[in-house]
Structures are given as structure tokens and as C-alpha cells.
Symmetry: C3
Subunit: 163 residues, 3 copies
């Protein structure tokens, strides 16, 4: 995206300025979308490799990456990649925000009221810091997509912003 | 905010540079505050139009908008604009974080301990991605202000950061 | 970090441009890490002074500061600095996400399953807006580090991004 020239680069910024659109000089934005269609109603998917891939493509050294579910019955969190823990989280969420036939939301014909509550509980997005070209994570941090109402096409946006 | 001229624009950046304050060239920041005074103790308000208005004024094409409650007894979330769901969320929050006379916080004379817990549960802020000049939302995503201790003046900050 | 000169500053940006690395002109990034080793298993620490210190060092006027736990058994929240409230939050978290011997995660030999759930409940990070060189907080907002599995070394990243 960037040229390595000397004077030609200088020309480039002057040209950009005269255009009033010198954006790519200082900041980089890079956006990708993931699409999921899970086979289970509830499913938890480690998407850290996808976030790292976005970082690689963005060529960003410093900044932040937003990972945000685009649906209101899904979540995104950062936690451990340990199967027993994931199973425990699923049980716990289903206890705090259980399926109930009588949710008012179900009068619309929907049956996924619990999925909305589970999404609120874990939140639908995280910000991942980027330092020196790496996801600046602690030793066990992994990004998960949490599907609470699956078996249909759902999307996540990954947007990198930095330089 | 930006002029459309050629050489005059170039002059402008050179001047900015000599000032060491060439901020508006690359990045835009735009901040607004909303003030609420609800009639109910708990109330849920769709503020997506206000977030879109901030985006419009910022003239931002790429970036992120932070929407953050400035009080510790309120929340901000992204979910569906369906009245039955909102009523269900209210009931659910009041079950998980109910009013209790005996909260230790109430020894200070306050009576809103439950409002603090509800705020922690749903979180007090969200980041909305902006792509190609639009809020980059899925089909049903709406930004809500959640008042848990109303009938007095409360504020939300909306800060756009991008270009 | 910035010089106050006129033409020498202009030279600086031109040089930067020819280098294709004019980053510090428009955007500032500043990152620090806090390390905690609590004496209690669960402990809640007001880290607002540390966040303000990072802001001061960053010399940022406009932007956002990410405060994010780097461990999966800790949280970061914004709420009131009132001891009774903190004690109430601790009791409430322990009710919604209690210690249970039988968590599946414990089959790995771990005993901190509840700490993972508490972390998910309160979230592991916040974004603090910065306006006119100040943390743009309401009257009672304070940043807390919440340790749910302490007595060992844990880290928090504070990353400022703005100008």
C-alpha cells in the first residue's frame, strides 16, 4: 500500500493534500467480515486465528482491533481455550439466562429470547490491543465467537484501526 | 470542515505543520453529549438516531464511535428495538440484580445499589464501527441507553474517532 | 515530543514523508503495563490514578484509552469508589458466579472456574474517552481492576490512542 520512494513520496503527500484526502499516510483502517453458520443452536468458536489474519493483512504496528458480532443473539469474548471451561460457561449462561416459553419477546413469534439475554450478559464485542505488530494479549487470552441462536448465517466485523 | 481548493489547501497543511498541529488532516474527532432526565426510575431509550447524527456531523468515513454512559447507574447496549424484548430485559435484570434494602452501599444513605449492579451487568459503553460513512451494523442492531436510576439529569458521551 | 519551531518543523514533516513514517505527526500511541500481585484471592483496586498518569505521559488531547486485563480471571470496570458498594459487588458476583467444586474446568486441575465466570460477567476491559486533555468522565466514574484469582503476578495493559 505504501511506496518506498523518496521524492516521489513527498510529491504524493502534496498531491494528497491538494486533494484533501491524505488519509492513508498516517492511519490504517482494515475491515473484514466473518460469516458463520453453526450446526448447533449454541456454539463457541475460537476466532483468534482470524483476528491475527486481519492484523497481518492490515500491516498495522500500533492500534486496536474491534471484534464485534453484527447480530443481537451472539457474543464475542476473550477467555481461555479450554473445552471444560467452554462447557462450563455454556451451562452457567443457560442458568442465568435460561430458555423460557413465556418471554414477552416470544409474542412476536420468536423463540430466541434467551439468546438476546445471553448476548447482553457476555457482551457482543471486544477491543484487542495491538503493539509492535502483535495482538497484545496475556498468555491465555483467546477471542471467542459465541453463537446463541445458530443454524443460520450470522456475521462478525473485525475492524483494525492504527498505524 | 474541509475546503475543496487546490493550492490553498496545500498552504493550509504547510501552515498547520509549521504550527505542529496538523490534526484535522489525518484524523477527525467529534464529541457530543446527550442529557437525559427520564420520568421513570428505569427507562430504555433507543439512541441510534443520535449516534447517526454524530456520525453525520463528524463527516467520518472510517473509524469507531464510542457511546458511553457518564454515570455509574446507567448502561449502554446494542440490541433489538422490540418492546417485548425490552420489557423482558428489564424483568431479567431486576431478577439478577434486584433491589435489596440491605446492600452495604445503602449505609451511605443511597438507595440505588441495584442500579450499580445492573449497570455492571450490561456494561456502560459500546463501540460502533463506521465503514464507508455508515454505522456498520447488522440488520437488527440498535444502540440503547439504559437508565437504572432516573428522574434526574444524566449524561452520555458520543465520541467519533476516525477519518 | 513535539518541537515548537516553524520552518524546522516543516522540514520535519517533509523528511518524515520521504521516510514514509510520518506517524507521530498526527497520531500518538502510548502503552504501559501495570503488574499486580494481590494478597487476597479477590481484590478490587482503583487504578484511575494510573490511567491519568498514562494520559499525562501520552500528552494526548483527544482520543481513547483502552484499559484491558491481560488475564482471563480478572476484570476491569468503571464504577463508584465506595467501599460498601465494592463489598456489595463482591457478594453479588459470588452469588451469580459462585465457587463450585464440580466445574468441568476443574478436571484440568484448576480450581478457579468461578474466576473465569466472574471475569466474563463484568468484562475484562473498558475504553475511557479523552477530551481536551482530560479523562472525559462523569462525576463518580472510576476505573477498577478486579482480581478474581490473585496472589500471583497479573498484568493490565493501558493503551492510549489519539492526538
Amino acid at each position: 500500500m505504501r511506496s518506498s520512494g523518496g521524492s516521489s513520496s513527498m510529491m504524493r503527500i502534496l498531491f494528497a493534500v491538494s486533494d484533501m484526502a491524505p488519509y492513508d499516510i498516517a492511519m490504517r483502517f482494515y475491515t473484514e467480515y466473518l460469516t458463520f453458520k453453526t450446526t448447533q443452536l449454541r456454539e463457541y468458536i475460537n476466532i483468534t486465528p482470524q483476528v491475527e489474519e486481519v492484523l497481518r493483512k492490515s500491516q498495522m504496528q500500533e492500534g486496536m482491533i474491534l471484534v464485534s458480532a453484527m447480530h443481537i443473539t451472539a457474543g464475542v469474548w476473550v477467555n481461555d481455550a479450554e473445552d471444560g471451561l467452554i462447557a462450563g460457561i455454556d451451562e452457567w449462561l443457560d442458568k442465568l439466562a435460561p430458555f423460557r416459553r413465556e418471554y414477552r419477546h416470544h409474542r412476536t413469534g420468536e423463540t430466541n429470547g434467551d439468546a438476546h439475554l445471553k448476548s447482553l450478559l457476555v457482551h457482543h464485542e471486544v477491543i484487542v490491543p495491538v503493539t509492535k505488530g502483535k495482538l497484545d494479549f496475556g498468555p491465555w487470552q483467546q477471542v471467542y465467537y459465541a453463537e446463541f441462536d445458530g443454524r443460520r448465517s450470522k456475521r462478525v466485523i473485525i475492524k483494525a484501526m492504527g498505524e
